[in-house]
Subunit: 599 residues, 2 copies
């Protein structure tokens, strides 16, 4: 794949690089006295110099002869250098930050490239939303490599999103320079079931010689996984068992081991590497979804590397899993993913491998960050009104809106979505609820809460109704316009008044997340950009998120990143039971199911 | 890179593959009961089935449900299966066989794909010669993936070839479907020296998103190698020391470990793998040049795998080095190089890994060979007259042609090319010769022989004169029109009469190789196709070659594949001293040097 994410294409500067390597022309920058983490040979090389010109690496080894009077010389003072870290699958929107603030947050942690799938903004604003994100990201040093959203809506026919992406859209999107592949093909039932339009979406990607990324979230590694891989899907980040990872690698699929803010899969699934003597070239590590507080406190891929090392993965292997393996997955290893001649000069300095503390980040031969801060501030984009005003709920929400009438007399058995903290899966349960005044009510003693999803894109007035378990709140309500993937307005609560307050709070502020109790807003994260993101700096957004987390705790919920888990309640491409604006979906059989169930 | 070497592009058959994997449609072929050499994870998997449809792999694992009434079922009976073997750099012309006879010879040995550089025929016939080879190869099951000749002539200004390839030619050639990259960039001095036209040749390849293959033949791994790699050269097969291999891999270059008929590098250079605990993903094995007798007696990549194992390379690693590593080098690993779903169904059956005896070869889902024989014969191509009549020497050659007058009286010191058996390098020596009748003569006692190179493409009447050492003949003469890379008429001999006979024998038969003595032709291999190849089957050509080898021995030469070593005498891109039709070339300083030298 031609790499469009560089200062200059190699064919325009190869003579200059040869001149620099040979000592006939001075380098723009020379790094001296570094320990190179060589991801090609899995070695540490001592006392290495790197000469850089035109944003690319001209020489690795003894670079003394490349230094001229105007060459910027950086003495690594014996620190380690690694290739720039690459996140092979992630959603910028999960950070709640704009693309430029996201870059500002992650680049100082060593991330020089992300393969991002902006399917959240695409669900709300369509292709224009994607274009807005491209424009926003382009002004940052981060290589924001686009995988074009493939499943908008996530599961057609089961939800209402702001936009629909067709196979013709994909054929057109693949012509963009910024697009390196297809975003996660979550519609694995469509692939496995040979659905024509779904295969046209992957097929149009393959025809454009770009990479199809995957999302195969069921613990089935036989026929279905084979059918999925055979259809040309190159990687998948949805493994929750070590055997899933192994099965994917054995089938030549890049297994992207995930460690997101809310989904802590790595500790379990990295056993595929640590407990088997397998070649790890088909293993990568990715973040998928990282919330602002994690970025502020822990970091990004540097944090994931530290986690990997703590789980027993060899440090060089861990670095390979976010550099050369990822670049090879995208067939961009001739341009990215290693500190070798000709490649983009994307280089990370770390004090030591164990703690992986990033001290300096070079992108395209420029110092992009030092000591935890971006070198140059990026002016925020002036986001257009259509992107900042996206709450189009077609009904006036009052406490009465949340009444759930039933024909049952005393008790009713209902289907309940039980969330699993720190995992993306849920479990379908049954609960027996008392009938009060002909209606079903939340029951905090059983931890069973009313849940509503309101369509918010086209004023249709549709809403779906369900119950959820696992948040352990004792009072109040929560709401969110981050509600995957259609990002309708999701409300969970213990009582109708607070649920109405939560919903209306978000409608009024243009979207976001909040927790309320007894008529009071305890925490609010405003996300006016598509109802998903806040253009402010991460420090501010993270502070709001922290306050919201405290608010959640105040009403009784103490799970990790509860809003991320809550936001998956409507995501019908994950098992078992989900709630969209159209109703409850059995996500194993892909049918709507009624709220009330047989015992 | 879009793979054009398949029965059907994946986007046209992905629904069918999913149907087969799921058991909704029967497979075309199912392999049962195999031990899979999994090159992705470096494992052996027992009792594996493979389902095949549309020439591609639909499923790997338990394939029983994919069998329908018309499915061809192959019971592997516990044999190993590996991906089809890929030769990452080779010249079909070295086999002296036409492309179709080459395929007939190598496919039964497990070779399913070659990345071939037809620069020999291109030097003689230009692009039309390359097109002829494309047509010839296309009728065979072998995936003949073209790397477009980059250096025709090999070292511009130092020899006369039949054709000149420019950077504009390369830009045009890169648009061909059959072209996957640029053939070996032998003009490394041009790359390292930032020569504009040379960089345009590599640049036009990079611009077309294809792979630049290399040839960096000097034992210098510092500035020069860095400059070469930085210019975008992705692989190199010219390593004669383990440290060269290591240096290339460390710089992110695919080190292609060579084991040709005449150049036995592997034993020494594989120590880069066996004696260092490095990741071997950047190591491949290639043949470069294999002569007919080797193909007939030893095989091809199967033989190289056996050699590698005998040198201590782990068998699975050895298989990786001719499958997935090679495919990844060419960024075709999404299509070739592993037995995994979606890939071309190119599969090799071997009895055991140690002896690597190939019993069956499947290409694009069809049995291409069984028990050492191609399944279907290929009708020979009717080669055009312009390709079969290429001896255009512009002077009448007589014994007098070979007189070398000197101004010296009794003795003269001359430069001598000393060949190194089984290696591509040579050494520049000095020899003191007696002057006889005002002329320099061959001196068999010192093993110093007259050597002439006659231009044979454009009737220019040019010839170059030198001396060579190392063949140990005691009488007679040898001649060859296989004389890299310009393939002019090369003659080496002990006396002028036999030299004239040898030269005229080849002129009369349209090119080839011969050994003569005392006015008698002892051995002759006719190569009428471009003076390089013989359209007859390998058995016949190999018999002629064997007879020629005996003839060489008869006149005193016992080195391995002497004609291959002799054929490199004019190759000015290799060190140290070479002879072209224009004269003696110092190949380290790239200047012509006189025959007579200071003592």
């Amino acid at each position: 794949m031609i790499n469009r994410f560089c200062k200059m294409p190699l064919w325009e500067c190869s003579t200059k690089l040869a001149d620099v390597a040979m000592g006939r022309a001075p380098a723009d920058m020379v790094i001296t006295n570094a320990k190179l983490v060589n991801v090609c040979t899995h070695e540490i090389q001592e006392n290495i110099g790197v000469a850089i010109s035109c944003g690319r690496i001209a020489l690795v080894g003894d670079a003394a002869h490349c230094i001229g009077p105007d060459t910027k010389v950086i003495d690594a003072e014996g620190q380690y250098i690694t290739p720039g870290l690459l996140d092979g699958h992630m959603h910028i929107e999960s950070s709640m930050l704009s693309a430029n603030e996201y870059a500002t947050a992650v680049v100082p942690h060593g991330t020089t490239g992300v393969y991002y799938d902006p399917h959240e903004i695409c669900n709300v604003l369509g292709i224009p939303g994607v274009e807005l994100m491209i424009r926003d990201a382009a002004r940052t040093p981060l290589k924001a490599m686009l995988t074009s959203p493939s499943c908008v809506p996530a599961v057609p026919g089961f939800e209402d999103s702001g936009c629909v992406v067709t196979s013709e859209d994909i054929a057109r999107e693949m012509q963009r320079d910024e697009v390196v592949g297809l975003g996660e093909m979550m519609n694995f039932p469509g692939i496995v079931g040979s659905a024509e339009e779904t295969h046209k979406i992957t097929g149009n990607t393959l025809k454009a010689d770009k990479v199809v990324t995957g999302h195969y979230s069921i613990p089935e590694t036989g026929r279905g996984l084979n059918a999925y891989v055979a259809s040309g899907v190159r990687c998948c980040h949805e493994s929750t068992r070590a055997e899933d990872v192994l099965a994917k690698m054995r089938l030549g699929m890049y297994a992207q081991l995930r460690e997101g803010s809310a989904w802590h899969d790595l500790g379990v699934i990295c056993k595929a590497i640590t407990e088997h003597q397998v070649d790890s070239r088909f293993a990568c590590m990715i973040s998928d979804d990282t919330h602002p507080f994690t970025l502020a406190r822990d970091g990004h891929l540097d944090h994931i590397i530290r986690r990997a090392i703590s789980f027993g993965i060899d440090p060089i292997t861990a670095v390979q899993m976010v550099t050369i393996n990822t670049a090879t997955c995208y067939r961009m290893d001739h341009e990215l993913g290693s500190v070798t001649p000709g490649k983009c000069a994307d280089i990370v300095f770390v004090k030591d491998l164990e703690h992986f503390e990033v001290t300096r980040v070079i992108i395209d031969g420029e110092v992009a960050a030092e000591n935890g801060r971006l070198s140059a501030a990026i002016e925020p984009l002036d986001y257009p009104e259509w992107a900042m005003n996206t709450m189009h709920v077609g009904e006036t929400i009052t406490p009465e809106t949340f009444r759930i009438p039933t024909e049952k007399k005393d008790k009713a058995t209902v289907r309940v979505i039980e969330i699993i903290p720190a995992h993306v899966s849920d479990i379908e349960r049954r609960a027996e609820l008392k009938v009060v005044n002909g209606c079903l009510e939340s029951d905090t003693e059983q931890d069973v809460l009313k849940t509503f999803v309101f369509e918010r894109h086209h004023n249709t007035g549709k809403h779906g109704v369900g119950f959820v378990k696992g948040f352990h709140i004792t009072c109040g309500a929560m709401a969110s316009t981050v509600a995957h993937d259609a990002h309708n307005l999701l409300v969970v609560g213990s009582n109708d008044e607070d649920m109405a307050l939560a919903a209306n709070t978000l409608i009024q502020c243009g979207g976001g997340m909040c927790a309320v109790s007894n008529g009071k807003v305890l925490g609010l994260v405003r996300l006016p950009l598509a109802g998903l993101m806040n253009p402010k700096p991460n420090a501010e957004v993270a502070a709001d998120v922290e306050q919201l987390t405290k608010a959640w705790a105040e009403i009784g919920c103490n799970i990790v990143s509860p809003f991320m888990t809550m936001a998956l309640i409507p995501l019908a491409c994950l098992p078992d039971l989900r709630l969209t604006d159209r109703g409850l979906v059995d996500c194993n059989r892909f049918t709507f199911v009624p709220l009330e169930a047989e015992e």
